[in-house]
């Protein structure tokens, strides 16, 4: 898409005027892109803007905006997802699509290319497409071969080139060396020794060329299909996907959800056959004007039950409803399982209802609405520092932890040789039921040097202390204490005259003439 920058601007304005894009190159403004009308006037990329203005004072000039160009290219790549999930970005102005195995869905390779060109044209974007067995060959042909002016389908003329597999050598040999994706300095150096076309290097001895010119041989091999070249896809490749296309776009939320459920019904047997369930699902909504919305939901258990899948997306859509503007409707809806996991059929009890599955579904639904990390289990950690002693872990992750814990419990049980699975250590110090994320400073009156507080003022209320337990000194673990100056904390459990119990601590040790700082860190029942 050579005209990408000018097409981006002309989309919104008059298309037939000469338009050039100028960008500063070495402190001079030079043309970085021209549209067809400007090219017809003889303006070319690289020309100084001042020269172009001198020749044609009336041309429209726009400033280069690489970020916007890239955003447009990514949007187009998103849209190209309708042809194949394997879309690679080839900045600044190209896209690579791996259509192996997809072409027949669109009536063959040529029909796919024609459809692609026609649809892009409808959006005001000019594109040249080449289909070849290797990425390198397609790249060169799309950019440097003068394509046949008569196509079988209208609109295809001059835009679509096709190279049969095995024919890369013939197709490439007349092209300039720039078609091999070489760096400009390499092309220049090759030109200096008289090598200008690919045919010039094709049959030369390889060793001297390889020694002098970086990457030349690798690029050549890649273009000819001797060396392998993978496409780096922009998006993760789903492990299973189903999609539905509509002649009449759909726009209502109800219709979208109905479609998702139908798609899930088609996805389920695919997953079932593999003995898998989905852990991460994505719905892609392709809007008619090319915008693509992607909605993801994660699950705690491998899932393939269609109503449950639909329910999760219903929750998610409910939350992000405002962000998804259907415009004139969606013409493709796709459901993919991005991450799958083994899910064996389980024997459910005949008498008792299946609580575990119901709970997992509840966690998934709440997770879809609020975020999976918001539904948590408290996992105890092996540390004395109160803040770190409990960790909130997403409930969807805890399945594995439970398994590990039960194994640990079993070994502990064997070691202790007792029937009881796990007993709390009764000698463990009592801990509050609520803990403040940040300890709250209080004004306290206490015996010096290290006595418990006698009264303290917390949240503008004065508490007279009648019962005290403590102190319990907790110091930062030395491996966490980077500076070596962390203060110890002396914790007291105190009960006020009204019966309110809190966990207070004194920071550091008593130093004469210095105010001691007291904090409330937690609340007991």
């Amino acid at each position: 898409m050579r005209r990408l920058p000018t097409d981006r601007i002309a989309k919104h304005d008059a298309p037939d005027e000469a338009l050039v894009i100028a960008a500063p190159v070495k402190s001079a403004l030079r043309l970085s892109a021209v549209n067809d009308a400007a090219a017809a006037l003889g303006l070319a990329v690289g020309m100084p803007l001042a020269d172009a203005r001198a020749r044609y004072p009336k041309i429209a000039v726009a400033e280069a905006d690489e970020a916007a160009d890239l955003a447009l290219l990514e949007a187009i790549a998103d849209w190209c997802d309708r042809y194949t999930p394997l879309v690679g970005l080839d900045a600044p102005d190209g896209l690579t699509l791996d259509i192996s195995g997809c072409a027949h869905l669109f009536g063959g390779e040529a029909a796919l290319a024609a459809d692609l060109v026609r649809r892009l044209e409808a959006h005001g974007l000019q594109a040249r497409v080449a289909i070849a067995a290797t990425v390198g060959c397609a790249w060169g042909v799309a950019r440097y071969l003068s394509l046949p002016q008569r196509g079988r389908v209208a609109g295809e003329a001059g835009r679509v080139g096709s190279v049969a597999s095995g024919d890369e050598r013939n197709a490439l040999s007349p092209l300039p060396l720039a078609a091999l994706r070489l760096a400009p300095d390499v092309i220049e150096a090759l030109a200096q020794v008289g090598l200008k076309r690919i045919a010039d290097v094709l049959d030369r001895p390889r060793a001297p060329l390889a020694a002098r010119f970086n990457h030349l041989m690798r690029r050549l091999d890649q273009a000819l299909g001797i060396a392998d070249e993978p496409i780096t896809p922009r998006l993760p490749i789903p492990s299973a996907l189903v999609e539905q296309r509509f002649n009449d776009p759909i726009a209502l939320e109800r219709d979208v959800l109905g479609t998702i459920e139908r798609l899930a019904t088609r996805l389920a047997p695919v997953l079932e056959q593999r003995g898998e369930g989905a852990r991460l699902l994505q719905v892609a909504l392709f809007r008619t004007d090319g915008k693509v919305f992607r909605i993801e939901v994660g699950t705690g258990e491998p899932l393939r039950d269609p109503p449950r899948v639909a329910r999760l997306f219903a929750e998610r859509l409910d939350v992000i409803n405002d962000e998804i503007d259907p415009g004139f409707g969606f013409d493709v809806v796709r459901l993919c399982a991005l991450v799958t996991e083994r899910s064996d059929p389980q024997q459910t009890g005949l008498a008792a209802p299946d609580h575990a599955a119901e709970l997992a579904h509840l966690i998934d639904r709440l997770g879809a609405r609020f975020g999976l990390r918001r539904v948590t289990r408290l996992i105890e950690q092996d540390t004395h520092i109160p803040e770190y002693a409990a960790m909130a872990m997403g409930a969807h992750m805890s399945r594995h932890v439970e398994v590990r814990n039960s194994v640990a419990n079993q070994t502990r049980r064997l070691a202790a040789n007792s029937v009881h699975a796990f007993q709390q250590d009764s000698a463990a110090p009592t801990r509050p039921i609520r803990l403040f994320t940040r300890p709250e400073p209080v004004e306290a009156m206490a015996e010096v040097p290290d006595g418990p507080p006698v009264r303290f003022r917390w949240r503008r209320m004065l508490h007279e202390i009648v019962h005290v337990e403590g102190p319990e000194r907790i110091a930062t673990e030395w491996w966490r204490d980077e500076t070596g100056h962390a203060l110890t904390r002396d914790y007291f459990r105190v009960e006020s005259r009204e019966g309110v119990r809190v966990w207070v601590f004194r920071e550091g040790l008593f130093v004469a003439d210095e105010a001691t700082r007291w904090f409330v860190h937690g609340v007991f029942a």
């Binding site: 918001r374 002693a389 039921i433």
Partner: protein
């Protein structure tokens, strides 16, 4: 259609139909199992214990008693726990910052192990209502506790109550401050911390609450002072007296003398 609605007789029919519908809703689960609190006087007032499959309310008598109110909610959850069922605790982010977040290591005093407890954090009170309604419909949860700084309206509590009827769990609205706003909850409690009886070593004794039952659909209201035994995980009435509480621990004398 409209004239027919306005005529007297169909209106009467409508009303009687609605009344009957409400009556069935109101009396639906008189036979749903109750969870006894283990204190005779309170269980008698409640008609056997805390009614299941419905909604209850608890609030702190003053903000400073919120710890006690949370402890009471945990104690109820521990008493209402069932095998293979879990407890869900829902709190808002602001609430957690303001009043402290539920702290795992302290919970085993209430007999609630952390692998039976799910904690959900939501951004807004309306999200907490949504989560609570969804959770109450789920039969895998024995108790659902949701904390609210403000009071949910009557419609919201009715929805919660209907959801609890479907799911069979106990719903507990834990309010940060007392209010008399209308609600369909079966019982409404006001909780304050009470001075505890120190243990024999002069340390802090068992947790003590002053419970005021300010609304009860099944019987009289009242005020009791209870203690929660951290070892037995059970309530007992403090009004029995200090002597009596000490006398059922014969080992105390032997320990002193021996």
């Amino acid at each position: 259609m409209v004239p027919a609605m306005l005529s007297a007789e169909p209106m009467e029919q409508h009303l009687s139909y609605l009344r009957r519908a409400i009556a069935t809703v109101e009396t639906f689960c008189e036979d749903s199992p109750s969870r006894a609190l283990g204190v005779g006087a309170i269980d008698a007032a409640l008609g056997g214990g805390l009614q299941g499959a419905t909604l209850h309310e608890a609030s702190a008598a003053a903000p400073v008693h919120l710890g006690a109110a949370a402890g009471f909610a945990l104690a109820l959850a521990a008493l209402a726990r069932e095998p293979h069922k879990q407890t869900l605790w829902i709190s808002t982010d602001f609430g957690s910052l303001e009043t402290g977040a539920l702290y795992g290591p302290g919970l085993d005093q209430f007999g609630l192990s952390t692998d039976q407890l799910l904690v959900a954090h939501v951004a807004r009170p309306v999200d907490a209502l949504f989560a609570m309604e969804e959770a109450l419909k789920c039969r895998a949860l024995a108790t659902v506790v949701a904390e609210f700084a403000d009071t949910p309206d009557l419609t919201a509590t009715r929805r919660l109550s209907l959801a609890a009827r479907d799911g069979g769990g106990i719903g507990l609205l834990l309010r940060h401050k007392a209010s008399n706003a209308p609600s369909v909850a079966r019982t409404r409690w006001q909780i304050a911390a009470a001075p505890s009886v120190p243990d024999e070593f002069g340390g802090l004794g068992h947790t003590a609450f002053t419970l005021s039952l300010t609304r009860n659909r099944r019987g009289p209201c009242g005020t009791w002072t209870l203690i929660w035994d951290h070892h037995e995980h059970a309530f007992s009435a403090l009004s029995v007296g200090v002597d009596a509480a000490a006398s059922d621990r014969p080992d105390r004398e032997t320990r002193r003398t021996g």
